[in-house]
């Protein structure tokens, strides 16, 4: 996925000379995850540059750069390190189009290596999506594989509105199986990554692969689960969510973020609003627990496992 993201940045910078890439360590060193590797050499230190350790300042600068007609791709080094920028993101990045009556656009992309599963240090395994999805004016996407990563990042950079890209660290080393393109991907649309009729598992990011493993395991019990990769967390693809529930009657939502007000709550609420009469069992949420992200030695107990996902599907089917 790292290579796909790097290619997306490269192609976007090549196609649009107003695109800038900046953040901590993205320049000379190419980023702590190597996502920006070689970009400074290719496009120069004026378009790809390191910033001081000032997340709020960097995002604020991106806002000013947007007034000056630049499209910034800002990297936050890790999930939790985007929190210092929340005021700028909530008050300005998300609201500036409205604040200027549509006259000033904020084509800003904020890349955030996110989620856990890499035995990371404290503050390096958080799932910040709720903070962004709840904030009107932002779009939020999260790819589950290299091809989607390329497509979603290209779309995010091209989008006239701010897009938060939550990159699943645990999938950074995944290799692309198909050629990189943004064809067939839209911000605002999810996709069925595995068909099935017994129940639908709605998920995103690193939990897509895990949900597919769970679905495969369930095949053994002759139970076919559909898996939906939401891809875009805001705006949610309500039509797809409702259609799948109408067709399968049962739903499970899987994510790493703590359960309370994690995305699963919104997916559940929309299912109830849009497909209540088709719902044959309570929606089950398989999520991280309502605790701070645990240390490496415990993270496998915290993260949704194949077993927990499979058990939830069996449960809603047996209900």
């Amino acid at each position: 996925m790292v290579a796909a993201l790097n290619a997306a940045l490269r192609d976007a910078m090549r196609d649009d000379e107003r695109v800038l890439v900046f953040g901590q360590d993205v320049g000379r060193s190419g980023g702590v995850f190597r996502v920006t590797e070689g970009l400074q050499q290719a496009f120069g230190a004026r378009r790809v540059f390191d910033t001081p350790i000032s997340e709020s300042g960097a995002v604020g600068a991106a806002v000013g750069l947007a007034f000056a007609g630049w499209r910034s791709v800002v990297e936050m080094q890790f999930d939790a390190f985007s929190y210092p920028a929340l005021e700028q993101i909530i008050d300005h990045v998300a609201k500036m189009r409205g604040r200027t009556r549509g006259r000033v656009e904020m084509p800003i992309t904020i890349r955030i290596p996110s989620f856990g599963g890499i035995k990371g240090k404290e503050h390096h395994g958080e799932s910040p999506e709720t903070y962004y999805v709840h904030t009107a004016g932002l779009k939020v996407v999260s790819p589950s594989n290299p091809t989607d990563a390329y497509g979603l990042l290209r779309l995010a950079i091209a989008d006239p509105d701010p897009v938060i890209v939550l990159e699943p660290k645990a999938r950074y080393w995944a290799k692309a199986e198909t050629e990189l393109t943004s064809e067939g991907i839209d911000i605002g649309r999810g996709t069925v990554v595995r068909d099935g009729d017994a129940a639908t598992v709605f998920t995103y990011g690193a939990m897509v692969a895990r949900s597919l493993d769970a679905a495969a395991a369930l095949d053994g019990d002759g139970l076919s689960a559909r898996v939906v990769d939401l891809r875009t967390l805001s705006p949610l693809d309500t039509d797809l969510i409702a259609r799948c529930v109408r067709e399968t009657g049962r739903a499970v939502v899987v994510h790493e973020a703590p359960k309370t007000l994690g995305l699963g709550a919104e997916v559940t609420a929309r299912i109830v609003e849009e497909a209540f009469d088709f719902l044959e069992a309570p929606v089950r949420r398989v999520t991280g627990y309502d605790v701070p992200y645990p240390p490496a030695a415990l993270e496998h107990h915290y993260l949704p496992s194949v077993q927990r996902i499979a058990a939830a599907v069996r449960e809603v089917v047996a209900y």
């Binding site: 806002v63 000013g64 007034f67 210092p84 189009r97 549509g102 509105d161 605002g188």
Partner: protein, 368 residues
């Protein structure tokens, strides 16, 4: 040393003859408080421009008072007056070139007038009919009104970085207050400006107060001195001396144009009125502190000098006053006449294209 615990506030204003936050390093001055010349008055402005400075200040003060009246009459929501800060705002704004971009706070109506922002559009913000910048920020090169203090400083720095990347001979200016300078965003933006040698002017109006908190309880240092830590110059200027403000800003703009980077200007001024129409200063400062500060009034000072120089006379001043009254009356009527915004405008500028769920909410509101 005294700490804020030990009633930092009671260090108040009772003894000082000039505002306490003016103590310490002497600010750069051209005109003394009584209008006598103490510096080089040749700031590069001809008689017409000098007169324009005064006329802007007179209009600004008159309009500011009108806005307070409008708020009292229920025609505006909470309004933050700027009486006493006319020289700081107008002297600095007049020193900007047409391509320079202003990132204001919520108190820069005087600067907005200089930049040609339509006051009626500007006031629709305070009328409560629009958030941010109801006027066209690109056309006026005046950014949206900014309330979360210090956030706009980073915008100005980013804009300046963009100018540098485009090799445009222009700069940006961020206005902010003494209290705003305590925010992390001030620091991050100032440091970024230094690192990228951005063509930006960081203009601090130190008016002695952050709502009820005096500058002396806001920081133990002098704000302009922070610049050195960021590797660029800082100057302290008498913010009630319009000529001194003009020159300091013009020099900072020249540095920016020349590629010499940022400048931090601390303009010492005084907030004569309340923080806003919702604020009651009697709770935290003595009237007599204000009376004393009024002796430093920027308009009286400049008018005295202009008159002495023979650039203005009573006849002209009276003629202006009449014009200004009409101007302000017209603004007043136009503000009141403003229709409320259509309800759907709440939805129309959230995204370039509204997602389906938002479209549904929009239809719900329109009862459609």
């Amino acid at each position: 040393m005294l700490s804020a615990f030990d009633g930092g506030h009671s260090r108040g204003f009772c003894v000082a003859s000039e505002p306490e936050h003016w103590r310490g390093t002497e600010p750069v001055r051209v005109l003394a408080r009584d209008g006598t010349v103490v510096g080089d008055t040749d700031v590069g402005l001809g008689p017409d421009e000098l007169r324009a400075l005064l006329r802007h200040m007179l209009l600004a003060r008159r309009l500011d008072r009108e806005c307070i009246a409008l708020q009292r009459q229920g025609e505006l929501t909470v309004y933050p007056g700027f009486e006493g800060q006319e020289a700081a705002q107008i002297g600095s704004a007049m020193a900007l070139g047409p391509d320079d971009f202003v990132f204001p706070t919520f108190r820069e109506l005087a600067a907005a007038l200089v930049r040609g922002v339509d006051p009626v559009q500007y006031l629709s913000y305070h009328r409560g009919t629009w958030h941010g910048g109801p006027y066209d920020s690109h056309a006026t090169r005046f950014g949206p009104i900014c309330i979360p203090v210090a956030t706009q400083i980073a915008h100005a720095v980013g804009y300046a970085m963009g100018l540098a990347l485009d090799d445009t001979r222009a700069c940006s200016i961020a206005y902010f207050g003494d209290g705003s300078a305590s925010e992390g965003d001030f620091h991050e933006a100032a440091n970024l400006a230094g690192v990228f040698n951005a063509p930006v002017v960081l203009f601090c109006q130190n008016n002695g107060w952050a709502i009820s908190v005096p500058t002396t309880s806001q920081t133990a240092g002098e704000i302009f001195k922070r610049a050195e830590g960021y590797g660029f110059p800082g100057v302290r200027v008498d913010g009630n001396d319009v000529l001194a403000v003009y020159r300091a800003t013009r020099d900072a703009v020249a540095r920016a144009y020349a590629g010499d980077g940022p400048t931090l200007i601390e303009a010492l001024t005084y907030r004569i009125g309340a923080h806003s129409t919702a604020d009651d200063p009697a709770r935290y400062r003595s009237d007599d502190a204000v009376t004393r500060a009024q002796a430093f009034d920027p308009i009286a000072r400049f008018r005295t000098w202009l008159t002495a120089e023979g650039h203005v006379d009573d006849a002209l001043l009276e003629a202006w006053q009449a014009e200004i009254d009409d101007q302000v009356l017209a603004i007043r009527e136009a503000v009141i006449a403003q229709p409320p915004p259509p309800v759907e405008s709440m939805f129309d500028f959230v995204y370039a294209g509204a997602p389906p769920s938002l479209g549904a909410q929009r239809r719900e509101v329109l009862g459609a």
